[in-house]
């Protein structure tokens, strides 16, 4: 131990010397009303909107414990003539009427930096994973105006989700906002988690914001991410189902603030909001308690702004501003497939496209249950690599047409040869799009699989054997066609020479069967 008495004394002297004249003036108020996570405070004359407030709690048990929990923070949300309405971030049961509240002159902020990576934290940046506190000296405000027009650039680079159906039909680019929408228990989170797992080695930081999720589910997800080695670049921001609505409300903004730190450094970030319907419900709860007038479905009037200001912060910045990006995958849970409810339509109109998951498809065994007709990516093929564009160009259309044709063909028995061929191809296409959970596939292997399909190499394989054929082909390619796989992964292009080689490889594989 190198700590000496003199050192301590010196340090103390230094610290104390810096503490001579610090009787700063604070604005204070008193709590006049508490309940259900909100407080009404009188006084606090020049408090700012969404300013952090400090509730001083005179709780002896806590104070003696010395855990520093003699303060509870809140956020001012309603500024009225002679009172301030605030949400309490924490245990509101300990705040009493008459308690002192001090303004902090700061907008609510969260710790950001490299030290949050690989951690599970709550929306205030406090560790939940038992690995000690987050060591950082950087803080970002949770609310920030989104980057303006001149700082932005259109989306050009892909985010490889590793899910065949999505990468082929509904490509997602860096800086895009793609909604994942569907009923409960249908694989929305699974797509998001697969996407995170597939970002290994892609220079992508991932932030998973869990809003109102069961803690057991999150524990499972974190374990899966750890197993896949994905926690090395992932942060989990957790506001669980038992946390107060105020924390649920803050969570996505806090996650975005952490993402913005990496954006400012010119890095690419993927952020997942799971899910925004629960976020809207939490905000509705807060708004109703603060006596804001309810509107449609009892949501407050600014529920659209709630999500639009959040999702606008996802962007792709141009070179002059660092060239970083935030890609957002918000998730919305629908009730009985109703996409025309209030919150789903709002978020659909804000995002650059949606991945619609359908119960019928799911129960037929088509998993992931992506509905090709209703899913779109408004940024589209600008974000696909050339090789993928070449093989997957018309796939979305074909998949959508197949489903209609299949429904129609149920009635008639004698079909012309062309229709039959289309149906056969469609069946194989649907089979190809089936994929197991936690098994994302690299682009090159996806390209090879699609190439084999559209060039008729799978036409003579029985439909029920397609998946074994596909798995075999991928294994064969990794063993015997390594240079092709590596070339596609590296250049992203599929020139004629490469095409020839690939054709050869597939024929070889078929002969080896």
């Amino acid at each position: 131990m190198s700590i000496t008495k003199d050192f301590i004394v010196e340090e103390l002297k230094k610290q104390i010397a810096g503490f001579t004249a610090s009787a700063e003036t604070k604005t204070v108020g008193t709590v006049t009303e508490v309940g259900d996570g909100i407080a009404r405070v009188s006084g606090l004359s020049d408090v700012m909107m969404s300013e952090m407030l400090e509730f001083k709690v005179a709780d002896k048990a806590q104070a003696l414990g010395g855990s520093g929990a003699d303060k509870i923070y809140g956020v001012a949300l309603n500024l009225e003539e002679d009172s301030v309405g605030a949400v309490i971030l924490g245990d509101f049961g300990r705040i009493k009427e008459g308690d002192e509240v001090a303004a902090t002159r700061k907008i609510l902020e969260v710790p950001v930096g490299e030290s949050v990576v690989g951690r599970v934290i709550n929306p205030l940046g406090e560790a939940l994973d038992g690995q000690g506190r987050i060591e950082t000296d950087k803080f970002y405000p949770i609310e920030k105006i989104a980057p303006g027009v001149i700082t932005r650039q259109s989306v050009t680079q892909p985010v490889q989700t590793g899910v065949k159906a999505i990468d082929a039909m509904i490509p997602i680019g860096r800086g895009q906002r793609e909604l994942i929408i569907g009923d409960r228990q249908i694989g929305k989170t699974a797509i998001a988690i697969d996407t995170i797992i597939n970002q290994k080695g892609e220079n992508m930081k991932c932030i998973y914001v869990a809003i109102g999720q069961k803690e057991s589910k999150i524990a499972g997800i974190v374990k899966k991410l750890e197993e896949a080695g994905a926690m090395e670049y992932t942060t989990v921001v957790l506001a669980g189902a038992s946390d107060p609505a105020s924390l649920l409300y803050v969570a996505p903004y806090a996650g975005t603030a952490m993402a913005e730190y990496f954006l400012d450094k010119g890095e690419d970030v993927l952020i997942i909001y799971d899910d925004l319907s629960k976020h809207a419900v939490a905000y509705r709860e807060i708004s109703l308690l603060l006596r804001r007038p309810p509107g449609r479905e009892a949501y407050p009037g600014d529920v659209f702004y709630l999500h639009s200001r959040l999702l606008e912060r996802s962007c792709r910045l141009n070179k002059d501003y660092g060239g970083g990006s935030i890609t957002a995958l918000p998730i919305i849970e629908t009730q009985a497939g109703d996409v025309s409810a209030y919150i789903p339509t709002n978020v659909i109109s804000i995002t650059d496209g949606q991945i619609y998951l359908e119960p019928d498809l799911f129960y037929q065994g088509n998993r992931p249950a992506v509905n090709a007709g209703l899913s779109v990516s408004r940024v589209g093929s600008a974000a696909q690599i050339k090789a993928m564009k070449k093989v997957a160009g018309k796939m979305r259309l074909e998949a959508a047409q197949y489903r209609e044709l299949a429904a129609f063909a149920q009635f008639g028995s004698d079909l012309d040869a062309e229709t039959r061929a289309k149906l056969e191809r469609g069946k194989r296409l649907m089979e190809i799009f089936k994929q197991d959970q936690y098994a994302p596939l690299s682009v090159a292997l996806q390209v090879m699989t699609f190439y084999a399909l559209i060039n008729g190499f799978m036409d003579d394989v029985p439909v029920e054997n397609i998946r074994t054929f596909e798995a075999g082909l991928q294994k064969y390619a990794l063993a015997d066609g390594k240079e092709i796989v590596e070339a596609i992964n590296k250049t992203g292009a599929l020139d004629e020479a490469m095409e020839g080689k690939m054709k050869e490889l597939i024929v070889d594989y078929k002969n080896s069967l």
């Binding site: 103390l12 610290q15 104390i16 503490f19 009787a23 003036t25 604005t27």
Partner: protein
């Protein structure tokens, strides 16, 4: 329309402004009559509080409180009085003094909804926070 406590208080202040000492009693009596007649007697406390606020604001009076660990001497109080007057811009300060031994030393000044904490207790606490970090 519902009349708020503040509106009552403003009304009372307005009607008292131009009166002489003798007339004041009469005005107050009538005002109390109106409140009771309109069924607002329950608001009396609030109206009084509002009235004091309005009175202080119009007359340039600031209410302040000094809490200290030991009784302060005249000189210090006068100094603090002048300081508060400068901070608030008020012409007159209504000062109350309070002894709070838990402050250990220094003083805490309160005026309006502002607090300037110059106590030894707060300084020690700040110091602790910095050192613990």
């Amino acid at each position: 329309m519902k009349i708020t406590a503040r509106q009552f208080a403003e009304g009372l202040y307005g009607s008292l402004e131009e009166r002489k000492q003798g007339e004041v009693n009469e005005t107050i009596k009538r005002f109390a009559g109106i409140i009771v007649a309109s069924g607002q007697a329950g608001k009396a406390e609030k109206i009084i509080a509002e009235f004091v606020k309005i009175w202080n604001r119009k007359k340039g009076i600031a209410v302040a409180e000094i809490a200290s660990a030991r009784k302060l001497d005249r000189e210090t109080v006068k100094l603090l009085d002048g300081h508060i007057a400068k901070l608030t811009g008020a012409e007159k300060i209504e000062l109350t003094e309070k002894i709070d031994e838990s402050l250990l030393g220094g003083a805490v000044i309160r005026y309006g909804d502002k607090v300037a904490d110059g106590s030894l207790k707060a300084k020690l606490k700040n110091l602790k926070e910095v050192l613990v970090k």
